[in-house]
Symmetry: C2
Subunit: 378 residues, 2 copies
């Protein structure tokens, strides 16, 4: 809250309307699968933030937020998915009640949970100046606290378990849907070693095989796993909404030279990238080091090679702040956390071998310990 208020002041904002569930959760503790209706946390000029959402979800706000119950404002149900009225009409009236409808109001203009219609409602109902504050809160989240790092390390232990389960389970003939069931089980079931169960990931398991692995975001089917094919597994361990994503590729049978070459290129590139991933360097330093090695191996990767991670809700486990790519000159600071996403999605194959890392003054800490190689099961 203090960091958010300081940034609001710097930008001359009197009120901030936060629609991103991860920002809502980070500021207030609110947690629930209610983001399919309009909702927000409102940081006003003073006092505790307000939770705003559907009437029936105020019960969830009261149970999860640290503020007084009076700070939860539920809107009546006829506002839900109505063509006649918009929940933001109701919010505008509540801001007016408090005298918070003057001055400058920041909104998350480019966020899944703040639609163009939400903007139009506020712009119509308020005389305030409405300005873009997309990712204002996300940027306050990029350096993780010790508690946040503990959650992420636990998520790291969880993703180790998931990959171990995948490797134990996979074999030619196994239906992909059965492998997916095993992944969910390893991700969620209470684990005595970890002393906890797992939370749901912001992205479902992605595990395309063979030529489908050219497409990074296809979901599963019922087809049997085949010998002579590579499959990448893009999964995350999750603890209290904090994510540790980690990808590995498994080849069933003797890997083709294409996969062995990709493995060598990515391993070398990651070494170079990780060497640069330390406090004082920039995001693009990591990307440039990685891409330079890939290029020496004759591979062109034309998409970013990582992004900040932390607390998240669907549809994305990225924090949507800095990215590891050319042009991103964000300075790396201790306790920033990234998914070093070195995936290759080529014309008719794909390969993923990634790490989630914590920036330190020296070599980065890997949040999970899974062998950094092409996994082969014969």
């Amino acid at each position: 809250m203090a960091a958010t208020r300081a940034e609001m002041e710097r930008r001359g904002l009197d009120v901030l309307i936060v629609s991103d569930p991860s920002n809502m959760g980070w500021l207030t503790g609110y947690d629930g699968w209610s983001f399919y209706v309009h909702q927000a946390v409102v940081v006003g000029p003073d006092g505790d933030p307000l939770w705003f959402g559907r009437g029936q979800d105020a019960n969830g706000a009261v149970r999860t937020c640290w503020m007084s119950d009076d700070n939860a404002i539920g809107y009546p149900d006829p506002y839900v998915q109505s063509t006649e009225r918009h929940p933001m009409d109701y919010l505008a009236a509540r801001l007016h009640d408090r005298g918070w409808d003057r001055g400058r109001i920041g909104v998350e203009l480019d966020n899944y949970w703040f639609s163009a219609a939400a903007w139009r409602s506020l712009a119509t109902n308020l005389t305030s100046e409405i300005v873009d504050a997309t990712a204002l809160v996300n940027w306050q989240r990029i350096v993780k606290s010790p508690l946040e790092l503990e959650y992420m390390r636990r998520a790291g232990r969880r993703v180790e378990k998931i990959h171990a389960r995948i490797f134990d389970t996979i074999e030619p003939g196994l239906r992909k849907s059965d492998l997916v069931a095993a992944i969910w089980d390893a991700g969620i079931r209470f684990d005595p070693d970890l002393g906890c169960g797992g939370d749901y990931p912001a992205i479902v398991p992605l595990l395309p095989s063979g030529s489908d692995a050219a497409a990074p975001h296809l979901t599963w089917d019922d087809q049997p796993m085949k010998a002579g094919e590579g499959t990448f597994f893009e999964v995350a361990g999750v603890h209290n909404r904090y994510h540790c994503p980690l990808s590995r590729t498994i080849f069933l049978g003797k890997p083709t030279q294409q996969f062995l070459d990709a493995e060598a290129a990515v391993q070398d590139g990651m070494e170079a990238g990780l060497e640069m991933a330390r406090a004082g360097n920039t995001c693009e330093d990591v990307a440039n080091a990685f891409f330079a090695v890939l290029a020496r191996h004759g591979i062109v990767k034309d998409n970013r090679t990582g992004y900040s991670i932390g607390m998240s809700y669907p549809p994305d486990w990225g924090e949507r702040t800095c990215s590891l790519r050319a042009g991103d000159r964000t300075e790396l600071r201790p306790n920033m956390t990234f998914h070093f996403m070195t995936g290759l999605w080529m014309e008719d194959w794909g390969f993923e071998l990634t790490e989630s890392i914590v920036i330190t003054d020296g070599a980065p800490e890997c949040l999970a310990d899974v062998p950094r190689k092409l996994l082969v099961k014969d």
Copy 2:
């Protein structure tokens, strides 16, 4: 496509930009977890629709869409989560290339996947009139085809299996996270009876117990299930993205009078509602019949009691068209499908007993066959 084009013509739209993944999938077959970046299907004045999305996801479009590969437009990666450029800037230029930047363009103004910034980009880059076409495609989807109904019936068989697994597995002392793992397993693993595996649900399993059941959208924790407590299970079976949601409540031990009274009220109310749920009546007829019986039982439910269902992606398995509530005078037609969502979320308890139904000229078809009662495990 024909229905969508006819509605576009009726509204005087030259171009329609569709951002909702379920509408994108329904029109083109596109399927992938890529909706965390800006993407769309564009229906122009003539010819096949265009798929527009991130470059790396064009590989997924080519694999899942029925159109020619040339109709997939990938935007360069530096447009992803950038503060300097917006993917809709790129789309606007492609519309200009085709001469599609004149006349009236419809957009889904109130959709998760069409942010205020997306609107601003199009409004800045195009001279076209940009008008609200929220749910234009969703409304074309409300009467299901025989194939869609087959998918939903399969989803119904799947949700029967999930509820059977829950009832078999639940017992005092079982950690909730372990029960959730069993639910995912029953939802996804290949089932020889059904001849298929399951797809991921648009909402994770919701199963709050005791007083937490007052809050409909809390997710799970590691706490053990307790004797003397009720838990509702709001889950869905899913086949090829088509959902059959269904909720049941389980009481461990001897149910309290409160739960027995709720059961009786909801059972009676559902009978009355289902009696009205037939072609020629309206959505509000069903809701009014249900609420009238609840009121006779002394229960006030102040939220809608159902919504249209079908193909869906996170964060919501509703179709976001008609709702079962007072004021919704949508006429029921054969092969419309609804989740008759009769959940009660009271001050410190909750109860759900629901059905997913197909409208016919006579009594509605229930998509799943699960005993319509409070389930008790002693």
